[in-house]
């Protein structure tokens, strides 16, 4: 099986879907001729024509609205928002329109748009190229929310998202496009030789709503998504504690069985995300875990997250959860 980095895996998913389904159309800022500022759509315009893969005006609201309308009329648009930080001009179209159309029309209309967007920090992006706004979409019924973490699940989840008849917000951890990133900015490996970078050339899919058990253990359940999955892997190693590491993959709907099963086993839980703590998706996870597993819990559910501040530029390593902070939280769950 070929080794692919995450960009290549995403590109492969798009390429395959363009081949399989004529209704798939890809557009966004700089995705056409240039192939995207992160190169995710590289070569696709050339291969599939500029009527299938094209550039747009610099207008996230217009992109979302156009995609929504195309979806209503039978197409399956896959659009890129260049950075997740720039999804907010499209927020109304997403939360008030895309999310509600099927329900509000009594099932007469729906719009299967996939919105891909690079999210998260670690690239010195400062306030507006580092945000990870997933929780701001998880509160809106009608949307599915996906966050990939490896080349393998990037491809499989993206294919499922495109094939899904509901609108999907698809977050890509830009920090992991070219390597897994274990939290040390000075030691940044590529995906070469990583088992999750073995990516089949052909079509495959990963069911939305299912988590991935990244590592298995007995003493603590660590829940993460996106880039934090790898940082947690490192943290678990450093902590020396035997942990289940659950890579959530889908945030809405999330994998209740995987999580309750694990927490019932371990009795301890740490949730990790990059976004600010208050009302991050970690809050929902913690609230739900204590609702469902209260009597099995041996210690408070810990959240390790970005601080409740804008994302900084020079001091981003003090902001993003690193292995040390996560390992400390894992250890705290073991005292009681």
């Amino acid at each position: 099986m070929p080794n692919m980095n995450m960009i290549q895996a995403l590109n492969s998913a798009l390429d395959i879907m363009l081949d399989r389904d004529r209704d798939v159309i890809i557009f966004g800022e700089d995705v056409g001729y240039f192939g995207g500022v992160f190169r995710t759509t590289d070569g696709l315009q050339e291969r599939h024509g500029d009527h299938r893969v094209f550039d747009t005006p610099l207008s996230e609201g217009g992109i979302a609205a156009t995609a929504f309308g195309m979806g209503l009329n039978g197409l399956r648009p896959v659009v890129e928002i260049q950075f997740a930080d720039y999804i907010f001009p499209a927020y109304d179209q997403i939360v008030n329109e895309m999310a509600k159309i099927r329900h509000r029309s009594g099932g007469e209309f729906w719009s299967p748009v996939t919105l891909r967007t690079p999210a998260g920090g670690g690239i010195r992006g400062g306030h507006h190229h580092s945000q990870s706004p997933e929780s701001q979409f998880t509160h809106t019924p009608g949307l599915k929310v996906v966050y990939c973490s490896t080349p393998y699940n990037a491809k499989g989840l993206l294919i499922s998202s495109i094939e899904c008849n509901d609108p999907v917000i698809f977050f890509e951890p830009k920090r992991c496009y070219r390597g897994p990133f274990y939290g040390d900015p000075h030691k940044v490996p590529t995906w070469a030789d990583h088992p999750e970078a073995e990516v089949p050339e052909e079509h495959y899919s990963i069911q939305l709503g299912k988590a991935r058990l990244a590592t298995e253990g007995d003493s603590c359940t660590v829940i993460a998504w996106g880039a934090m999955v790898h940082v947690c892997e490192k943290a678990i190693e450093e902590s020396g504690v035997s942990c289940d590491l659950i890579d959530l993959q889908s945030l809405v709907p999330w994998d209740k069985d995987a999580i309750t099963k694990s927490v019932e086993k371990t009795g301890r839980c740490v949730i990790v995300h990059e976004a600010p703590k208050t009302s991050g998706f970690g809050a929902e996870m913690a609230a739900s875990v204590q609702e469902r597993c209260f009597y099995m819990l041996e210690s408070p559910i810990e959240r390790v997250t970005g601080w409740d501040t804008p994302f900084p530029h020079t001091t981003e390593w003090d902001y993003m959860p690193g292995p040390t902070r996560i390992a400390a939280a894992i250890h705290r769950t073991q005292e009681d």
């Binding site: 009527h51 609205a65 156009t66 929504f68 329900h103 509000r104 899904c164």
Partner: protein, 411 residues
């Protein structure tokens, strides 16, 4: 606290007339026959500048049709248009009455603007897409929707095709290619461009028509729509319905010192202003825009000049912010009367036939509402089952909604 005390120079526009003042519309100097009609399938957008700076009218005040824009319609078509407009007006009246007795929660009339959706939809093909606001329900009559089903939606009963999920007047009518109405104003305008592009991707000769209010044109969606339509040469008809008011806010707050009609031109879009109370002009302009789109020349931007004769909605009391009789001063008059007068003028109609039409429509509406309330109404139920809260949020019901559904049933 506070800045030092120089006098504030903030300037705020006002409506031209407020309660207690006498409205007059002297800037209306446009007459039918004024404007030439460029060839739809060849003219460039700047060859429409006179149409955006003028006003396309066909019917004069005496009911006479004239000028290049006269669509020369078969009287049968005109009578059908008249019938739909009368149907809509009587329907609206009935719904308002029912609203007052609590059978529905809320209502919005098309009063004074009946011609807009009806003439424009009649000028289109059956498989063209309609993306309306709450002020264009009349399009559904043109597309043959059963009135009972419309009422069932408004009164939110068991038979409401959208299952009581949205407020009244938020129709969805897929069979008529009439796309679900949404409350956030403006959003449909930019979405319609996507609908049109999808038709284009399928290689089909389908045009999409959409509308936005004078007020809503200040939303970003208006700009997105014009830009995307121009960039991708979309077969879409972009109507800005300038009915002078956005609730209590006059169109002055949306135009500033400019105007609406010419806004399409710098985007490279053919642009027209049309008398929105003139059935013939509306029909003609829309047909022209459709031809143009179908020939691959892209979108047309149309300012539909009209007046919201009624309250904004059943929750509104316009006498608080405008002269109560302002609509009677509107130079465009009443679209229903104007078409009726024209038909009489050309010997294809009579007051007697009008009376007959009105009573026929009356009974149609009465019959329809009597049937509709059999399936329930908002005051008395039965309502769509509470299960419908959880269905069609997603294509399939996910586990957490199943769980919540069960919880609701238990409690």
């Amino acid at each position: 606290m506070g800045s030092d005390m120089k006098e504030s120079k903030i300037e705020v526009p006002d409506a031209p007339f407020r309660p207690g003042e006498v409205s007059s519309f002297e800037s209306w100097t446009w007459e039918p026959g004024d404007l030439s009609k460029p060839e739809a399938t060849t003219c460039t957008y700047d060859e429409t500048a006179h149409l955006a700076n003028g006003l396309v009218r066909v019917l004069d005040d005496k009911g006479e049709a004239s000028g290049e824009w006269d669509p020369d319609l078969d009287p049968e078509v005109l009578r059908l248009g008249l019938e739909h407009m009368v149907r809509l007006r009587i329907f609206d009246d009935r719904m308002m009455k029912m609203q007052r007795t609590g059978l529905l929660s809320f209502y919005m009339r098309s009063l004074g603007e009946e011609a807009v959706a009806i003439a424009q939809t009649m000028a289109l093909n059956q498989d063209d897409w309609i993306f309306p606001t709450y002020r264009q329900p009349g399009a559904q009559f043109v597309r043959g929707r059963d009135m009972v089903s419309m009422i069932c939606h408004c009164i939110g009963n068991e038979e409401d095709n959208i299952k009581g999920r949205q407020m009244p007047v938020h129709y969805s009518y897929r069979d008529g290619r009439f796309i679900s109405i949404s409350s956030p104003v403006g959003t449909q305008f930019s979405q319609a461009v996507g609908v049109a592009l999808a038709s284009k991707h399928k290689g089909l000769d389908e045009v999409t028509i959409t509308w936005i209010g004078d007020g809503a044109s200040a939303e970003g969606d208006y700009h997105y729509a014009l830009n995307f339509a121009s960039v991708y040469n979309a077969p879409v008809i972009l109507n800005l319905v300038n009915n002078q008011w956005a609730i209590s806010t006059h169109a002055n707050f949306a135009t500033g010192k400019g105007n609406f009609a010419t806004r399409g031109l710098p985007y490279g879009l053919a642009s027209i202003r049309v008398d929105g109370n003139d059935f013939l002009a509306l029909y003609s302009v829309t047909k022209w825009a459709r031809e143009r789109a179908s020939a691959g020349l892209g979108a047309t931007h149309i300012e539909v000049l009209t007046y919201r004769a009624g309250a904004h909605s059943s929750s509104d009391d316009p006498s608080r912010y405008r002269p109560g009789d302002e609509h009677t001063k509107w130079p465009g008059g009443d679209p229903v009367l104007r078409l009726k007068d024209h038909l009489i003028k050309i010997g294809e109609w009579s007051d007697k036939r009008q009376d007959d039409l009105e009573s026929r429509m009356d009974s149609e509406v009465v019959d329809a509402y009597k049937e509709a309330v059999k399936y329930g109404d908002l005051a008395n139920g039965p309502y769509p089952s509470s299960d419908t809260i959880f269905t069609e949020v997603y294509e399939e019901i996910p586990w957490h909604l199943k769980e919540q559904h069960d919880q609701m049933m238990e409690e």
